[in-house]
Symmetry: C2
């Protein structure tokens, strides 16, 4: 991963509204959620929401598909996991005794 790709993704997540949006979409799953529902659930005006969705989309963290008049947004799990892998790359020079706490998209019941 290019460092600018990672900075763009992290910048996209480094904002309260956008982090809420992203976590909502991570919870909702691959089918996606209409933009309007996101704004309603989080109490964000639609023009502001649209700005934040485009930031997340531009960073590759979310996907968008149209179904009639409705745009469904969904989390891009692959790019999320690539970002996390980038952060932990080569940790402890390959000797992770002191830091190994694997995380990822794993359901609560299996933890």
């Amino acid at each position: 991963m290019e460092i600018l790709t990672a900075v763009t993704a992290l910048s996209a997540l480094a904002q309260e509204h956008r982090l809420e949006i992203f976590r909502l979409l991570v919870r909702e799953g691959v089918h996606g959620t209409p933009a309007g529902h996101i704004g309603e659930k989080l109490g964000i005006p639609l023009s502001t929401l649209s700005f934040h969705l485009s930031q997340l989309k531009n960073a590759g963290l979310i996907n968008c598909r149209r179904e009639s008049r409705t745009l469904f947004y969904s989390a891009n799990y692959l790019s999320m996991n690539e970002l996390m892998a980038y952060l932990t790359e080569n940790c402890c020079e390959g000797n992770p005794d002191s830091c190994e706490i694997p995380v990822g998209c794993v359901p609560e019941k299996e933890k």
Copy 2:
């Protein structure tokens, strides 16, 4: 984790110099690296470096200990992993078939 804690950590990582600094420290391990070495390796003026180190420190992503005149900075692996867990929390409503790609601090050779 509080959302503001996560936003602070993500904001700290969402900057090219700071992301380079953090990834360097993740690689170097728990013993830590003197501030001067970081600036030298990354070509960052010391006053600028100090500003960025304080942002990362304030976000809880790195630790600092003094040894004589030298300040050793090191990655805080626990808070890094907590941040990643926060991003993936409750993914896919507990049905991660479409997104399960666990990541974390695991050495290359074991991947």
